[in-house]
Amino acid sequence: MTPERQRAYWRRNLAYIGVLLSIWASVSYGAAIVFADALDAVRVLGFPLGFWFATQGSILVFVVLVFVYVKLMNDLDRKFGVYER
């Protein structure tokens, strides 16, 4: 990789990290803690929504986030020709 390609690869990685961690923070700190009382006014499938995010939703979102990162980075590695065989 040329130095420019290296920088592009790294910048793209940082952008992925930024987006994924924003979702991570807004689900756990936001929906499950700061806004939980407001969301609790809504009940979905027997759960107050804030309580659901705190006990189930945030964990499910975390699982999705890490698998999405795996997929994004594998694609990025292929695009930049650094995919490990």
Partner: protein
């Protein structure tokens, strides 16, 4: 066959399985011992990481805490899973690219300093030791309650079992044993939860069952109407005792935020979890094994709140106002361990629960609820046995992973890297085994005279990890300009501040209440403040000192690209910066 006979049978069978696996996968070289020769597939590594992770605190204490704390208890659920997102995107792939054996080794190389390495290895030992004592304590409680041995004999038995396979097998043995333990742990957790969920709400999926409506059988058990929503029933039961509604949160928001953040950041900074990502062949495997680990962990963590709801509702419903003479059998059995108590304060011969400590007559230690849940719900004895085996598997697997970190810190980072660089591979392997032996002996001694409850002891290890390793590793990967002096100062400031705060409010002056805490943040949540302090110190001191040498900056740059500069190999032949 009774519960005790079943428990002996299942526990002995599970131990036999662990030994067989350990013998089959014995370590032969130092690379085997520390990183399983980097030949573990990402799915298996994810499973082993999950078991390594799910400790006595996850298995025994977490749902119990949640049962007592209501929605605020989800700080533990989110904290102990959200940390894996940080690991997967911020640490695991880069540390795997670096490709050595231990965390102090990374700190020593990245910060070109044996002093930084020694500070890091002391932090690793302090954190792992705090954590391992909690595990052996958990083993002691389970054996004492279910097998009738005393807590002392229980702790000793647990220590011997861990020694046999951790000392012998090293990382390779531990990894395969942990895969076997995952099955036992998850079965021990899910099977009783599924039984209870089926009985109460008719749903075979506990996370859905907790939001379900009561079956006629469940309604009779809880003294509610059929068709009523379980969460409304548990809210009503807790309010009747004078507590806030179960599904609401009542701790200060800032404290819940701080505890959640501390546990997340601490999870990502725990050395026994980080080293698991050194065992896979490729960098992309490090990312995917973090993802698999989280998936395997989520199976237990999404069930835990359901267990909490079931335990909270059924313990209130089966005790409140019932005559003490007709107390359920589990109450008497647990009273012998000292973790459950009953005092008939008003002398009416009935058990009364209340939010008011002066009127409450039944005390239930949160550590007991998960273990007692199958008995509370009157499940068959083989389910009780499965829970005991699962709790033991959870505690032993985590203890083994932690002992390995302590052993590696002593044999690899202290003896091989600092004191005797010319030690042979064989010599190092034996040094590692001897270190594991000494660490187990010391941890056993502490576990026999424990400083507190399992979860309490363990929760503090997260504050220490959050404020020391996480900042120094993150800065080491993402900021080339971070210097030796910055790292040493930052790590020391973080761990001293956090450790000092915990000591001050938990050990020296436990009578000081929340009004004296910094911004109302409890000692469990102070680690995140310590981490921010460590980041600030690393930043300021690094900018005031000379930039790191070129070769170190090149090392940092090389971590960012998966294939580039150096091929990833066994790690033993690579350059060491001093």
């Amino acid at each position: 066959m009774g519960a005790v006979a079943w428990t002996w049978l299942v526990v002995v069978a599970s131990f036999a399985l662990y030994f067989a696996v350990a013998l089959w996968s014995k370590a032969r070289t130092a690379a085997d011992y520390y990183v399983a020769d980097r030949a573990i597939s990402p799915v298996l590594n994810g499973m082993a990481t999950g078991t390594d992770w799910m400790s006595a605190a996850s298995f025994m204490s977490m749902a119990g805490l949640m049962a007592v704390m209501g929605r605020d208890g989800s700080a533990y659920l989110m904290g102990w899973t959200g940390g894996y997102v940080l690991l997967a995107v911020l640490l695991a792939p880069y540390l795997r690219k670096y490709g050595k054996f231990t965390v102090p080794q990374f700190v020593g190389d990245r910060y070109y300093s044996n002093a930084a390495r020694v500070v890091a290895l002391l932090c690793a030992i302090a954190i792992s030791f705090t954590y391992v004592a909690g595990q052996l304590r958990g083993v002691g409680i389970v054996l004492a309650r279910f097998l009738g041995a005393g807590v002392t004999q229980g702790v000793l038995a647990g220590a011997v079992v861990v020694l046999l396979y951790a000392v012998l097998g090293g990382m390779k043995g531990i990894t395969y044993v942990q895969v076997a333990q995952y099955v036992v742990v998850i079965a021990g957790y899910l099977v009783p939860a599924i039984f209870v969920s089926m009985m109460l709400t008719g749903s075979p999926v506990p996370p859905l069952g907790m939001g379900g409506t009561l079956t006629p059988e469940g309604a009779a058990f809880l003294g509610a109407r059929p068709g009523e929503e379980l969460l409304r029933v548990v809210d009503r039961l807790t309010i009747e005792l004078g507590f806030p509604a179960f599904t609401s949160g009542w701790r200060p928001r800032l404290d819940v935020l701080a505890i959640t953040a501390t546990l997340m950041v601490g999870t990502a900074g725990l050395p026994h979890i980080i080293i698991r990502f050194f065992t896979v062949p490729k960098i992309r495997d490090a990312r995917s094994s973090a993802a698999w680990a989280l998936l395997f962990i989520a199976a237990l963590y999404t069930t835990a709140p359901a267990v909490a709801v079931f335990a909270r509702a059924s313990s209130i419903a089966t005790l409140q106002g019932k005559p003490a003479a007709q107390a359920p059998a589990w109450l008497g059995a647990w009273r012998e361990t000292g973790l459950v108590g009953f005092t008939d304060k008003d002398g009416d011969g009935r058990m009364r629960l209340s939010a008011d400590p002066a009127r409450n007559e039944v005390s239930l230690d949160p550590d007991v609820l998960v273990l007692a849940n199958p008995e509370i719900a009157r499940l068959p004895p083989w389910v009780v046995a499965l829970v005991a085996a699962g709790a033991l598997g959870a505690a032993l697997s985590t203890a083994a992973g932690l002992l390995l970190v302590i052993a590696a810190a002593i044999s690899h980072d202290l003896l091989k890297s600092v004191l005797y660089p010319r030690m042979s591979d064989r010599g190092e392997l034996w040094a590692a085994r001897l270190s594991a032996l000494c660490a187990t002996a010391a941890a056993t001694a502490v576990a026999l005279h424990p400083p507190g409850r399992v979860a309490e002891v363990v929760a503090h290890a997260f504050g220490l990890a959050a404020s020391s390793f996480f900042p120094v590793i993150l800065a080491g990967i993402f900021w080339k300009r971070a210097t030796k002096a910055g790292a040493i100062a930052g790590m020391s400031a973080g761990i001293l501040f956090t450790g000092g705060y915990i000591l001050w409010f938990r050990v020296l002056y436990p009578e000081l209440g929340p009004d004296r805490w910094l911004l109302g943040i409890s000692p469990e949540g102070i680690g995140i403040v310590g981490a921010l302090l460590a980041f600030a110190v690393i930043g300021v001191v690094s900018l005031l000192t000379e930039a790191p040498p070129k070769e170190v900056q090149d090392l940092v740059a090389s971590l960012r690209y998966p294939r580039e500069a150096q091929p990833t190999g066994s790690g033993s032949g690579r350059r060491v910066f001093r």
